[in-house]
Assembly symmetry: C2
Homo-oligomer: 306 residues x 2
Amino acid sequence: MIQKLIDEIVKKDAPIVVGLDPMLNYIPEYLKKNSFEEFGETLEGVADAIWRYNRKLIDSFCDLVPAVKPQIAMYEQFGIPGLMAYTKTVAYAKEKGLIVIGDVKRGDIGSTSAAYATAHLGKISVGGNEFEPFGSDFATVNPYLGSDGVNPFVNACNEFNKGIFVLVKTSNPSSGEFQDRLIDGRPLYEHVAEKVVEWGNASMDGEYSNIGAVVGATYPEMGEKLRKLMPKTFILVPGYGAQGGKGSDLKVFFNADGLGAIVNSSRGIIAAYKQEQYAKFGDTGFAEAAREAVLAMKKDIKESIR
Amino acid sequence: MIQKLIDEIVKKDAPIVVGLDPMLNYIPEYLKKNSFEEFGETLEGVADAIWRYNRKLIDSFCDLVPAVKPQIAMYEQFGIPGLMAYTKTVAYAKEKGLIVIGDVKRGDIGSTSAAYATAHLGKISVGGNEFEPFGSDFATVNPYLGSDGVNPFVNACNEFNKGIFVLVKTSNPSSGEFQDRLIDGRPLYEHVAEKVVEWGNASMDGEYSNIGAVVGATYPEMGEKLRKLMPKTFILVPGYGAQGGKGSDLKVFFNADGLGAIVNSSRGIIAAYKQEQYAKFGDTGFAEAAREAVLAMKKDIKESIR
């Protein structure tokens, strides 16, 4: 699967993934109003608004980027209807030729991780029938439980041609509380990175591995070190834009081949219409504003990693 | 919320939680057959079988134990219908007077953890209406992202009178890969435990805190140390029974007041009818077998912690 992602990045000339994290206050009022009129002020109403918002966003930039990354928590908070909007979004994005990174950050003991891997990357048999529960192409995975919590995901990658990104160094301010603590003179995240390389050797796909890593744009010095420690590992880089990561910080996440990283932006794109520079689009032009923001991000990143 | 759990443990004289982790091969064939006849060999069919299985299990032991712990992954693997069976199970268990520990192991950056906390512990407003998305009483939480990934859950505990159990030392064989690594001469899980105490001070409820910890029955020496390190922290102890934890290992997880821990058993109870000693119940007697297994576990634990 990582080769497919690389092919799409090259084809669209954009190492960019758009985070589809629909906070209720990002969704334009007129869209919510329409949905509430049809479904009431209910979870079904919100789910409909999210789905319509996502669909227009996907339509607006699907020719520009290789992938989207829906953050499942933003759907889960709206219960079952929210998760139905998640599955519709995943299916629609794939229909539009996009690769879907399910940002689920799952991870548990072996048998339980196997169930999560089935849920998000695999298929499940019921009698003579087979179903794809959530059907994303990649999932994010939490490493705290060690190899037997991650290996079921690696197995699913091999069985179903999928990929994962394992949390190594996260973008949030307190990520260092545990991740930066020194073990034998090196931070925990480097030990996790070593394991990612080991897990990754079991699922190579061309020059890179299906087992990637998450490293926040907000920590470029660590990104530089991790880039060298994990040469065959693709890095998913969150934290660009709203979280504070700048284009000029990103070069270190890429290899000399110009590949090896994909940068995520969520609210900077999907809620671009709320920013002053895109205000002219108004709330009915939120999708056009998102497209403009993707083009601007593309330019920023290309200049930065040149 | 922790005080409510303690009251129920005392009332039922059972520091026991039953894990409702319905693997498809635990569910008796006749139940699956009935559901498949009604809904076909579909995810809806499986979800119906899970729901009927859980309902009978809950009916069989709801007077004996204070709590159940559904493992959401086992439902998530059956997609939306599976998660609908999860929500029905949570609601039914609560109706039957049980406390529900949603074993979701969520954890992310702050804004995302806030969405997960809303999903599993909180309520969400849509216009003038309020909804409880998944409605469990406790949730399990992964600490890898540090304080700003955990604090939104702590806030939800305070706002909605709920609780969490943070992963400290998990029960699985490879939990030591990262959790046991020494930082300033002490294992990572002790550093996490210290943070659990700190987070817990912000949500006290009687003698104990709403912020609990997960420590596996499979590591009793570490449990003993952690019990002393976190005197006001309730410990959720998985790994008893099928995973290898023995009754005699459990005493160390309890405080001198006889409280401070709740021991989970999943397949040892819910699939008891598959064990030789309960074979006489047959598959139609799976719920009675589960009740017997709860009684046996209760006896084993009472003798062990005396």
